[in-house]
Structures are given as structure tokens and as C-alpha cells.
Amino acid sequence: MIMNVHAPEAPFETVRDVVVENPVISAQKLDFWYGKSQALFANDLDVAPRKVTAIIGPSGCGKSTHLRVYNRIFEQYRGQRAGGRVLLDGQDLLAPGTDVIALRRRIGMIFQKPTPFPMSIFENVAYGVRLHFAFTRKELEQKVEESLRAAALWDEVKDLLHKPGTALSGGQQQRLCIARALAMSPEVLLMDEPTSAIDPVATARIEELVLQLKERLTVVIVTHNMQQAARISDHTAFFHLGRIIEFGATAKMFTNPSHPKTEEYITGRFG
């Protein structure tokens, strides 16, 4: 994730084909540093509600770095620092007074590798729920079932709820992680290359799931797989060397990109 960034020639302007109305998340002049090396340069990005926004770009361009600011997960590492503002419902989530625990309940995250907790399938989902909500046993069981259903996993695990989460296949584990995140009733789901460690069939199921999820929440997905971005996203942001080169409607971007760099990347000439 740590990258070598050469400052591109200033001045720089992102090409925008879309204006997002009432964004859920709005990154404004977002900069990021790993120690002394700057990884993001003045990113402006609006995430539309109940849509899927894809972040694409070559390795080391800052896709994940950008995403990891939204739930402030970067903070647990020494020397990582963000500048600028990221508004969530108009409030700057980078402001010092932000309740990070509450923020992370509202903005869930799925990682590249599935990471089931070392406990039963039921407990994997219930563990976080118990911390955030005052539920009775009955309500908790309902919440777990509901979340597993929403992650399209219930039918496969309903008789195995007390088996360890690690006993599932890779694709199932990833859906378990999605169920675990959904159980927090998040408004936004961040997905950092969620299918790159998973086989094609399981990937297709997760893509299908993302399309269902956007009926009730907002998804931001970082992906290396351009077909995936084209299949499931409404908006796409193309990152290169820590800057957002182009942001627009996915359909347009993949058929008729405005910036020559975007075209080069999409057609596979670099990256």
C-alpha cells in the first residue's frame, strides 16, 4: 500500500461527467501521508446515496488508501495521516471530536481476505451486535438470521450456526463478513477488493449481492477487476498516482472515457 508518488504536473483538475446530488460521503481536498511520503493529493469525491461507486486504478494509485480514510481505520498505524475534509451527512468525520466507534457502526468495511472471527458462525454476527444494540436474546437471534439472509448465506449455514466460522469456504467466509457488517445496520458499506481472494463462482454471488444491497445502502468498492466495476457500479472514479483523474457515470466511462489516461488504463495499455 505504501507507494512511490511523483507529484504530477500542476495545475490539476479532475474530469467530471456527473454531479452528485445530496452525497452521503463527500471527500474534499483529501490528502494523505504515509510518514513523509504523500499518497493522496487533494481528492474530491462525492458518493451518491444508494448507488455503487467503484474506485479503479493501477496498483499503488491510492484506491485503498482513499477508502481507508472513510472509517478512519488508518489511524491505528503510526505515521499515517489524513488532511482535508470528509463529510458524512455534512459533518466532517476527520474532525477530532468524532466518535469513531459510532462512525464505524454507520460505515461498515469488507476486506480483501475474509477474516472470520475465531468463534461460531452465530457469534461472528452476534459479537458486534451485542456491543452496539441492547437486544433481547430473541431479537439478537432475529438480527443474526436477518443479516445472514441479507448476505445470501442463511440457507447454507442455518443448520451450522454453532460451527466455527473458519469451517466455511472462502466465498462463504466473505459473505459471513458481509453479514457481520450488515448486522450493524450501516448506511455505507466500504469494500476493499472483496473478491480478489475468491473463486469466480463465489465472486459472481458477491457481485449479485452488492446489486441487491444498494437498494438499502450505499456501496463504495475498490476493485482491480474492471469488468467487475463495469458490471456492478453506477459511478466510477479512476485514480492514478494519488489523484482522481476522472469521475463519471460507469456506463459512459467504460465506453467513452474523457481523459486519455483513463482510456489507456481501461483498454489495458498500462496498470
Binding site: 503510526r78 464505524r104 480483501q112 477474516t115 472471527f117 456491543l131 452496539h132 457488517a181 450493524m184
Partner: protein, 287 residues
């Protein structure tokens, strides 16, 4: 261009060296195992003669009269080791937590890590002397089981801390991140998820430290001392297995020497048994 020249060392010499290194490795391993079994055999042979139920339930014998039992020493050792665990394990565990989860690569953490390593290297007799100075000499009732437990706790601390740190560092950061990303507070992430993920290693560390102190004699010699009476509490000099072995083995009385061998066998058998049972349990649970 440099010319590629093959070395002319004959293949037979190379093969001979290979055979030699392999033979030496096998022999060394065999030698180690041989001594282990020799020790086990000697202890078993000399110790089994006194073993009976009453050996565990009787008071120590008078010189030259019967074998009596090791009840008092056994209870004293258990009590002191238990108290040492209560003091040493939590402090050691959370030292490891701090090193792995908070200090990490910082300068302060390297300093603490260095100190913990030093503490691990301090001879146990010095730890005993330390406990003697700050507890035995400073308390009106002098020698006590508490002082012994304190010395043992200090010996346990670095072992627990270092294994806890190593085991927590083996847990991938992805697991920490996914717990934190759910809005689980850091302390709950550590105690509820990381401890569980590393439980096998953490338990091993605790056991290693218990094993280490259960055979310690030097730190007890001038702290817990020994006693011929039942250890009702740890405020007084306290009977224990290792100092009993030390005193009895050096005595001129045949019955005392036999009790020393019996006590050795008991220590060995318990440690061996616990190791085996734990390995079995951990294997079962990991499936």
C-alpha cells in the same frame, strides 16, 4: 564475459560430507533423546518404590522412620505456584499486549522488550536474593510462602510477556482491522477476539512459565524456606517440593533420600501428564 569454470571438487568428497553431516545430526538428536530417557528411567527406578496413596496424604517422616509422605510440600508448592500465577500471569500477559498492540515498533517498546529479555536472563538465585532483601528482611515474620510466590512470579513474568507478544503478533492485522471496522472498541478487540485467536499460544506461554517455576529451587531457598507443618497460609515458611528434594537428597537418612526420589518422580509425572493432556485438548479444540 567471464568464463564459466566448473570446480573440480570430486563428487565423492561432496557425497561423503553429506553423509557425515547427516550422520552427525542424527547422532546428536539421538544423544539428546537418550539423556532424556536416561533421566526419566533413573527417576522412575529410584522413585517408584515409595509411591503409594499414603505418600500423597501423609506428613513428612522423621529421620530413619518410614517414608511418610509429601502432602505438606505438595500443598505448599501448589499454593505458591497458584499465587505466583495470580501475580505473574496478568502482568506478563498485559506487558505482552502492550508490546504487541500499542508499543509495537516505537522506541519505548524496544526499551521495554530489551528489559524483559534481560529479566528473562537473570539467574533465578538472584531473583530469590532480591525477594529475600525486599520482602523477607522487610517483614517482621521473615521467611514466608508469599515471598516465595513473589520470587516465582518475577521469574514467570518475562516468559509470559514474550510469548504473549510473539503470539499476538502472529495474528494477522486483517483480523484487528475487521474487528475495529465493526466499531468494536480496541480493548474488546484485544480481549474478545485477539486473545481468542491466539489462545493456544497464550496458554502455551503460561504453561511454559509454570513449568519453568515448578522446578525452581534457588529462589525458594531463602524466601519460602521449608517447613515440617501443613501450610495453612503463606504467611509462614512454607513446605514445598523442590526444597524438600534438596534437603532430603542431601541428608544422610536413607528414608529421606527415598522420599526425595519419590517427590522428583511426582513433579516429573505431573508435568509430563499435564503437557500431554493439554496438547490433546488443544488439538481437539482446533479442529
Amino acid at each position: 564475459m567471464t568464463e564459466l569454470r566448473l570446480s573440480h571438487r570430486p563428487a565423492t568428497a561432496r557425497k561423503a560430507l553429506d553423509v557425515f553431516v547427516r550422520a552427525f545430526s542424527v547422532l546428536s538428536a539421538a544423544l539428546g533423546i537418550f539423556f532424556l530417557f536416561w533421566i526419566l528411567w533413573v527417576v522412575l527406578k529410584k522413585g517408584h518404590t515409595v509411591l503409594s496413596w499414603s505418600f500423597f496424604t501423609s506428613a513428612p517422616p522423621s529421620p530413619g522412620e518410614g517414608v511418610g509422605g509429601i502432602k505438606y510440600a505438595l500443598v505448599g508448592t501448589l499454593k505458591m505456584t497458584g499465587l505466583a500465577c495470580l501475580m505473574g500471569v496478568p502482568v506478563g500477559l498485559f506487558t505482552g499486549v502492550w508490546l504487541a498492540e500499542f508499543g509495537r515498533h516505537g522506541a519505548l517498546a524496544s526499551g521495554v522488550r530489551f528489559c524483559v529479555n534481560l529479566l528473562m536472563g537473570i539467574p533465578s538465585i538472584l531473583v530469590g536474593l532480591f525477594a529475600y532483601t525486599i520482602i523477607v528482611l522487610a517483614t517482621p515474620r521473615h521467611y514466608s510462602g508469599n515471598a516465595g510466590a513473589f520470587a516465582l512470579a518475577i521469574i514467570m513474568l518475562p516468559t509470559v510477556a514474550r510469548t504473549a507478544e510473539d503470539m499476538l503478533l502472529l495474528v494477522p492485522d486483517a483480523l484487528r482491522e475487521s474487528a475495529l471496522a465493526l466499531g468494536i472498541p480496541r480493548w474488546r478487540t484485544i480481549t474478545g477476539i485477539l486473545f481468542r485467536a491466539a489462545r493456544k499460544g497464550l496458554l502455551t506461554g503460561v504453561l511454559l512459565s509454570v513449568f519453568r517455576v515448578s522446578g525452581e529451587t534457588a529462589p525458594l531457598l531463602f524466601t519460602a524456606l521449608n517447613n515440617n507443618f501443613y501450610p495453612k497460609n503463606l504467611e509462614q515458611p512454607t513446605a514445598n517440593l523442590t526444597v524438600t528434594i534438596y534437603n532430603y537428597a542431601m541428608s544422610p537418612y536413607d528414608n529421606w533420600q527415598r522420599v526425595a526420589w519419590g517427590a522428583s518422580l511426582v513433579i516429573m509425572a505431573v508435568l509430563l501428564g499435564v503437557t500431554l493432556i493439554l496438547r490433546f485438548l488443544l488439538k481437539e479444540r482446533n479442529r
